[in-house]
């Protein structure tokens, strides 16, 4: 594949960007918060069909929407409802927003659960579709850049609709979604930092004119760009192996990305008054959700070289 958008894809991206530009700022009261989900913006994107792109156009287009929404300061649930649900459940419609969880984590805090109407559960071999009763969800205070919620009482998986053999497909698209959102948030955080180091002057020069800053930003940019390409390829090819590669590559670069971006934003970079944390905390959340770098890499290694015999590199 290449990464030149078709006319339809470009029109889709332009339209999403136009809406997001109109909703670029946070309300004054939310500027110092850790995450702000905007239900009106979520509804606007859904009503205008952007979250149906997977069914109407294809998974690559859904990933493009998720990438763009991940760049927004406002938390938008596009990964679950726009990409994962339609691809993991091709024969059924579910009500969005959609949260995602592994069965073992049903008693823990779950990303987007406070805004979700549906929860997709990874049960290993199978998957389960669980309607979410908002009254059964408690908000969890978190720094992680998304709304988090916990069931007041862990739901009974048997109360949901079990999709026999659906676990692998759910995990595949979940991984693709995580890689896509990390790529989008990383892009936004890098753009934000480039803007900062271009404006901010020290010793009579822009911070970004120092090679010590330039070169590290280039490294982070190169990694974010290749993560984006891998995520888009995973959406386009719909291959599980590509999803594994995309998410693991995304995780590989997170530690230096987060450190450098906060470092280059100086003292303001370690406050909540500077917006950077909206994206970087989001990336941390996704890193944890993907199982962490060691876990993701070893998962791939186990699948690629399951036993010492028989692997082909």
């Amino acid at each position: 594949m290449d990464f030149h958008l078709s006319e339809d894809q470009q029109a889709l991206v332009d339209a999403v960007q136009a809406i997001l530009r109109d909703h670029a700022d946070l309300p004054q009261a939310e500027r110092l918060s850790y995450a702000w989900h905007d239900p009106a913006l979520q509804a606007l994107l859904a009503e205008n069909g952007f979250l149906d792109a997977a069914r109407s156009m294809g998974p690559l287009e859904a990933a493009l929407v998720a990438f763009e929404t991940a760049r927004s300061l406002r938390s938008i649930e596009a990964m679950g409802s726009g990409l994962v649900a339609p691809m993991a459940l091709p024969d059924r419609m579910v009500e969005g927003p959609v949260a995602l969880a592994a069965e073992r984590d049903l008693g823990r805090a779950i990303r987007n659960l406070t805004v979700a109407r549906t929860l997709l559960v990874d049960c290993g071999e199978d998957s389960i579709v669980l309607p979410v009763d908002p009254g059964a969800v408690e908000q969890v205070a978190s720094i992680l850049g998304y709304p988090y919620g916990r069931f007041a009482r862990a739901p009974d998986p048997a109360s949901g609709q079990r999709i026999a053999g659906g676990g692998a497909l759910l995990r595949q698209w979940w991984r693709t979604g995580i890689a896509t959102e990390i790529a989008g948030a990383a892009r936004a955080a890098i753009d934000f930092t480039i803007d900062h180091v271009t404006q901010r002057q020290v010793f009579g020069r822009a911070v970004g004119s120092f090679q010590a800053v330039q070169h590290r930003l280039v490294q982070r940019h190169g990694h974010a760009r290749s993560t984006c390409y891998l995520a888009m390829r995973a959406a386009w090819s719909a291959r599980a192996g590509d999803a594994d590669i995309a998410v693991c590559h995304a995780l590989l670069g997170i530690q230096p990305l987060l450190f450098d971006l906060h470092q280059f934003n100086g003292g303001m970079g370690v406050t909540t008054e500077h917006s950077l944390h909206f994206w970087t905390y989001r990336i941390r959340a996704l890193q944890a959700e993907a199982g962490g770098l060691a876990g993701a890499a070893l998962d791939i290694a186990d699948r690629r070289w399951p036993a010492v015999e028989g692997a082909n590199g």
């Binding site: 594949m1 290449d2 004119s209 090679q211 330039q214 891998l230 693991c248 590989l252 070289w305 590199g313």
Partner: protein
């Protein structure tokens, strides 16, 4: 479906043709023959393989047919390079400058006479060329070069020193940059010449690398006379000519390297399965497994970066900073890849072995591969220079103040 894929899929019959040709013509024992080969055998084999590849037009696929090249479309060239890499065929390293830089320069800037004199001879396999750009005081900062060419009527007299000239000891001609107007600004007073290395006053000194090999040479130029008809492009206008030389590859060389690296990964997995003296296989170690995954993922990412550049070329777009991004990515990945080979190889990877001549950058002789990988973060514009190019031209960061 994307344009590039559609074009490549339409070329499946051509791909099968290339694959079949390689299966029939690539000597099965070439690796064994070229491992530890003497230099004269290496040169003879490079010439043999070059001429063999010329038969179906595969040695110079990018050259126009009117000059004896394959005249293949860019998409066909992509397929050809992929197949050559996947077959593990020898790299035509002795002909690299002759096949890429010479036509990229002469077809754009050369005279008809220069083209007629050299292009057919190159495709006959008779002419090996080298590059005389870098100097002891002008590497990544090429425009600082000081080799002097003084015009004296119908010829120039050249004095100076060049360095890092790959395979100059095997070459007949050199693409030479020299300063013809020392009073002009750095990039304004440079001219570009064809230098016959058999001219009196030219002497070479091989540079012994830390791998033990001697690919590079210093070239000393003492009152060397170059006829004025060997000037390429306008006098004092050599900097623009050099840009044509350096932009002549359009991503196909790195495509081949990326594909070869994908194949080379099999050597790494094989090494990781070889039991250590203690009986454990490195692949059983989680740290090794993680690092193998890291390298494998980055090989995939590299190929996507390359694809993106190639599809840009197919659309006729200017390359921008993509070549710098890819060069940076490739060279760091090669270093980490081969370092992992060394780690997997343990003490066994430290002993001197015979080198495969004309092979990929991943040969399985890990210490040699690793040490050679260090050259990749320096040659062709160091990683630091590439990062500055990307920062200033790609990310549009403020330029560093220029030295007064």
């Amino acid at each position: 479906m994307s344009t590039i894929l559609a074009e490549l899929q339409a070329l499946d019959p051509f791909r099968a043709e290339v694959r079949d040709w390689l299966a029939r013509n690539l000597p099965a024992d070439w690796r064994a023959r070229m491992t530890g080969a003497a230099e004269e055998d290496h040169v003879a084999f490079q010439k043999f393989w070059f001429r063999k590849l010329m038969e179906p037009g595969y040695a110079a696929p990018h050259w126009p047919r009117e000059w004896g090249g394959g005249g293949l479309s860019f998409a066909e060239q992509i397929v050809l390079y992929e197949e050559i890499a996947r077959a593990g065929a020898p790299r035509l390293i002795l002909y690299f400058i002759a096949l890429h830089h010479v036509p990229g320069t002469l077809l754009h800037w050369g005279t008809e006479e220069q083209r007629r004199r050299h292009l057919p001879a190159i495709l006959a396999g008779d002419e090996i060329w080298c590059q005389g750009f870098s100097e002891p005081g002008a590497g990544s900062d090429l425009a600082s070069l000081r080799t002097r060419a003084e015009r004296r009527g119908d010829h120039f007299v050249v004095n100076g020193q060049k360095t890092w000239s790959s395979n100059a000891h095997l070459a007949r001609y050199c693409l030479l940059l020299a300063r013809t107007d020392p009073a002009a600004a750095k990039t304004k007073g440079i001219s570009y010449f064809i230098l016959d290395l058999r001219t009196p006053g030219v002497s070479l000194r091989p540079i012994r690398q830390m791998t033990g090999a001697s690919h590079f040479n210093e070239i000393f130029l003492d009152d060397v006379v170059i006829p004025a008809e060997n000037l390429i492009g306008p006098e004092h206008g050599g900097w623009a000519v050099a840009q044509s030389t350096l932009s002549s590859e359009r991503g196909l060389s790195v495509l081949e390297l990326a594909e070869r690296m994908r194949e080379g990964f099999k050597l790494l997995t094989a090494a990781a399965r070889a039991p250590s003296p203690a009986g454990r296989m490195p692949i059983e170690d989680d740290e090794i497994r993680r690092r193998m995954v890291d390298v494998r993922l980055r090989i995939e990412a590299l190929r996507l970066l390359v694809n993106n550049q190639l599809s840009g070329v197919l659309r006729g777009e200017a390359a921008g900073v993509e070549p710098s991004i890819i060069k940076l990515y490739y060279s760091e990945l090669l270093r980490d890849f081969t370092e992992l080979g060394v780690a997997i190889g343990g003490i066994e990877a430290q002993y001197l072995e015979a080198v495969l001549m004309g092979g990929a950058n991943e040969t399985g002789y890990w210490m040699q591969d690793y040490l050679y990988s260090w050259a990749w973060t320096i040659s062709g514009g160091s990683s630091e220079i590439q990062r500055t190019i990307i920062a200033e031209r790609g990310l549009k960061l403020p330029r560093e103040p220029r030295a007064a």
